[in-house]
């Protein structure tokens, strides 16, 4: 703590805000409305949604640090290309490692790991934050945003799996509590992509009605 005088503390209020803001009032999905495509694609079941969130966390955390370290050397005119190359390389690394050490999970996520490359949240954070900030705040910003993203993914996947398939992480909840015996039938609409959009819409609605700051005139 002796460095505190010259240097900002690693967990100063400003840095903590970088971590917590994207989870709530600056959420990448519900407020910035980015990364919607993958939120629709991987949320029919809870497990792929969780692994997807962890993968995005790695790519965004590491990518933000790399871009931040390189930020003064990157030529302005090809900065988007540089960012894309960094994202693509990290995503391929994640994909290769999953294939070697978590083969089952990598099969479940199939094409969606590759599609992290096109996730607008990552490009968005590189452009908006790490191109102009030091590595440590960039790292926190990346982790914060991926938690915000993963948080929404998990909520959506939880409700879609529960009402669409009657299970949570494959565990048969509705069967166990005997809901089928009294005539309940799984709602097949929940596992179709439109319901993901509607679920995200409901989350946005709840969030805006609780936080008047987010309402624009």
């Amino acid at each position: 703590m002796s460095e505190q005088g010259q240097k900002e503390s690693m967990f100063s209020a400003k840095n903590i805000k970088l971590l917590t803001d994207p989870i709530g009032k600056n959420n990448p999905i519900t407020v910035q409305v980015l990364g919607i495509c993958s939120a629709l694609a991987v949320t029919a079941k809870l497990e792929p949604a969780i692994v997807m969130s962890i993968s995005v966390m790695f790519v965004l955390g590491a990518g933000n640090v790399i871009i931040s370290l390189l930020r003064n050397t990157i030529p302005q005119r090809i900065r988007i290309i540089v960012q894309l190359v960094v994202i693509a390389a990290l995503v391929i690394l994640v994909d290769q490692v999953l294939k070697a050490y978590a083969y089952d999970v990598s099969k479940q996520l199939s094409v969606f790991v590759g599609l992290i490359i096109t996730n607008c949240i990552i490009m968005g954070r590189f452009e908006a934050f790490s191109m102009a900030n030091k590595p440590w705040p960039s790292f926190l910003d990346g982790i914060g945003n991926s938690i915000g993203y993963g948080f929404i993914l998990v909520i959506v996947a939880f409700f879609r799996e529960l009402f669409g398939s009657g299970t949570i992480l494959g565990w048969e909840v509705f069967k166990t509590i005997g809901l089928y015996e009294i005539g309940y039938v799984n709602n097949g609409f929940m596992i179709l992509p439109p319901m993901a959009l509607i679920t995200v819409g409901i989350i946005i609605w709840v969030q805006r009605s609780r936080n008047p700051e987010l309402i624009k005139d």
Partner: protein, 248 residues
């Protein structure tokens, strides 16, 4: 330094690409053995699973060597051209395990000579004949294995897998809810005509009573995947009909 000069941009881009290429190719090379082993274990597990033998990636190879006693290759006229048994070739030089089913099925569409793989599984005194399947799903390939009982007619078990079918819809083909009804169904009717197994939208109950033994229920919301499983079963199983007919 002027980071916007053309020379700087060219050098920057080149160096970046070379570094990334080196990192990625190193990672791919280092992880390759592990990945290939995973693919091999998975294939062995799927073959074993169709005959109801449970295995983990760690035990797959041991169990495979224990239960899969013979690997055959069969030609379109129904002759066994290659036979691999207990680590040695008794006939020919091809192993069913390493046969590329995709190329063989492609040769079939071109009316060329092709081979069909078959695995002989002996477990607890029973013999099962395991037939690998491959077809086209909605988003990518679907594949699986069918284990037939000694009569080459009754299904002992099936497993399916897919590359990228929709989770919760087409992807449900891998779960017992879809695969369990296959058990006990037959691929030949009473007169010995090949019927394959039909995957029926609305349920096998929609078929005439005498044909329900050749049908299973399709997945609601996964019609195209269900149809492709139906086509895959027909296209792959029909290759063994000459062999089965001449050995019955």
């Amino acid at each position: 330094m002027n980071t916007n000069s053309n020379t700087y941009i060219f050098i920057y881009a080149s160096v970046m690409v070379i570094i990334i290429a080196a990192v990625l190719s190193t990672a791919a090379t280092l992880l390759k053995d592990k990945q290939l082993q995973n693919v091999k274990n998975e294939k062995m597990q799927a073959i074993l699973a169709s005959a109801n033998i449970e295995s983990t990636p760690e035990t797959a190879e041991t169990l495979y060597n224990m239960y899969i006693v013979e690997e055959w290759l069969i030609n379109p006229t129904g002759e066994v051209t290659d036979l691999y048994k207990a680590g040695a070739f008794e006939k020919g030089s091809g192993r069913a395990f390493y046969l590329n089913l995709k190329t063989e099925l492609y040769k079939k569409t071109k009316d060329e000579d092709f081979q069909s793989p078959l695995f002989v599984c002996k477990v607890e005194g029973e013999t099962y004949y395991i037939i690998p399947l491959l077809g086209k799903g909605l988003w990518g390939p679907v594949w699986g294995n069918v284990a037939l009982k000694e009569d080459f007619n009754t299904i002992k078990g099936v497993v399916f897998d897919h590359k990228g079918e929709t989770p919760g819809l087409g992807a449900e083909i891998i779960y017992p809810i879809f695969t369990d009804p296959f058990v006990g169904k037959t691929i030949f009717d009473k007169d010995g005509t090949f019927t394959s197994i039909k995957v029926v939208k609305g349920g096998a109950i929609k078929l005439p009573t005498d044909q329900q033994i050749h049908g299973v229920d399709a997945i609601s919301g996964g019609t195209i995947t269900s149809n492709s499983v139906n086509d895959m079963l027909f296209d792959c199983l029909e290759n063994y009909v000459p062999y089965i007919k001449s050995n019955k």
